[in-house]
Subunit: 366 residues, 2 copies
Amino acid sequence: MTDAINILELDHTFTMHRGGVLHAVEIAYETWGTLNEDRDNAVLLFTGLSPSAHAASSPADPSAGWWEDMIGCGRPIDTDDFFVVCINSLGSCFGSTGPASLNPATGKPYRLTFPTLTIEDIAQAGAEVVKSLGINRLRAVIGPSMGGMTALAYCMQSPSPPVDAFVSVSSAARALPFAIALRSLQREIIRNDPKWQQGNYEAGDGPLQGMRLARKLGMISYRSASEWKSRFGRERAASVPSAHDPFGVEFEVESYLAATANKFTGGFDANCYLYLSRAMDLFDCAEHGGSLPCAATEMPVQKALIIGAETDILFPLEQQEQLAELLREAGKEVVFHPLPSIQGHDSFLVDMDRFRPAIGEFFRGL
Amino acid sequence: MTDAINILELDHTFTMHRGGVLHAVEIAYETWGTLNEDRDNAVLLFTGLSPSAHAASSPADPSAGWWEDMIGCGRPIDTDDFFVVCINSLGSCFGSTGPASLNPATGKPYRLTFPTLTIEDIAQAGAEVVKSLGINRLRAVIGPSMGGMTALAYCMQSPSPPVDAFVSVSSAARALPFAIALRSLQREIIRNDPKWQQGNYEAGDGPLQGMRLARKLGMISYRSASEWKSRFGRERAASVPSAHDPFGVEFEVESYLAATANKFTGGFDANCYLYLSRAMDLFDCAEHGGSLPCAATEMPVQKALIIGAETDILFPLEQQEQLAELLREAGKEVVFHPLPSIQGHDSFLVDMDRFRPAIGEFFRGL
């Protein structure tokens, strides 16, 4: 862990949304910019499933963050104006308590004894950080992908301090069956790896091959057919299948997937992945208020930005438009920004030329 | 095998498109209707990856076939007019020679010693059947999915007997990287099952779990998000995850996938699946003629029907439209029929109310 990471250690028990209690919870976060005197210029950022709290570089950690282009001095979320806080999700493995953490009661990792994790719990952990920092007002709660769900859950369950704006980036108000099916299959692939051992693998000796295959399936759902068509076409890879391995890598797209999967799998704990993945399936904003329209009405924000990519198959634009419409009907001031990005769900990490100005404009108006 | 299945035993060697030779090749096929006196009313049907030659019921096998609604007396491909021949693909495992067959030279199954299989080989095996039946003219060569690729390859490489019409159902002129990535991952999942044993499993003791997971991935790519949204929504399954299996089936869509996968996996040989799946990736009609436009020009048919579903993500409609356009530019009489079916790639097996009349109209005009 770098010097940029702050750890909030809770001195009280943490009650989970679907039951169960955690003790000695730790929540990792990073910050950029300065909280002003009135403590009212904060922006709370939740992440997608896999990133850490390192969203951008800082003096304490000059390495590039996962949303480097979006946060900083003169950038769309301008740290000259805003004090930005990014949370490592509860249940993840980059400093926050999760299934890979030691259970203080047993001295062993929680593994599958970790209680059911929900998006609401991740939001609640973020609320603990906001409280601990003495923030009086949040100018925005924002998140991409799973982070957008978390931002939504945050707004629904933490009315204080007040939140001015909700920003959903390539996200949705609930999980639908196509995305559930994809994530369910990823989890099954991991659990099917003999090295998973019902969750009881030792740290560093987990189901690497299962994680690799699950990540490949993830990449297939994160990008788009049209991007890959223009990027890879039917290009052949440098190495081709041999008599020894007739089903090995032949096409460039296969070699790209292999490289991407290898890069990912070393760093992420398999049980944490399973818990976070399932939390997304379980999320349905309609549970707050009885229906989606009621939830939208009860949401204590005035402004919202709903932004996403036309080629997203995991969080289809139709769902995002529906969320924008619901919030508009509930009387919010809503900007809906559908972008013609070709990189699918991942566009918010790649097509910065489109996402930067749209998000920058919204934040300048806050 | 039922009485409906005919087996053509080749009395000559079969040279594979990418090298290698097979001896004592057998090709399974079924027929419906009667070949007329002029032997010029035949329709040749190729299948998708997994079906047998049993496309429809017959007196010899009254069980429903995989395209039961499409073939028969008074049906769109009317057996009062046409003599229909359906081929079990070379490389498959329902009567035709494939990786699961005994190699006459060794007395053992080919397994991975089977030469590289291509769509062109499957088409060539169909041509052997056509020749053996003394057919003078084919009124149409038709196939859905992989079968459409095979029909295309057939037309390109078998100019005699003459073919009047080419019918592509939810198919394409080449494999693109999104579909390649999905199939490549399916193959890797199967090969990753320890029971695959580098292809050397015993019949009936193969990589069942890998096949099950690959089939689930298949189903995700065969259907559409909008169908599943309206069909399953966020319905919960009858059984829910327990403390014992916290990642078990929770949603109805998961239980549907499990049931579909279980139904499939008993009957299909894993090595055959790997060979056929890779044959689809390798297919590129541009290899016949140097480019797609050249291939279209050289294609010895006068009429074509290109029909598919708007929600198909495996063979996107855009690709189908492009094929129609190329054939039209090459001077063919082309009907392009995009259908608003919501069942994705599988629509041709499910949305019969749309596919039946469109295909029937075309065949009545032949």
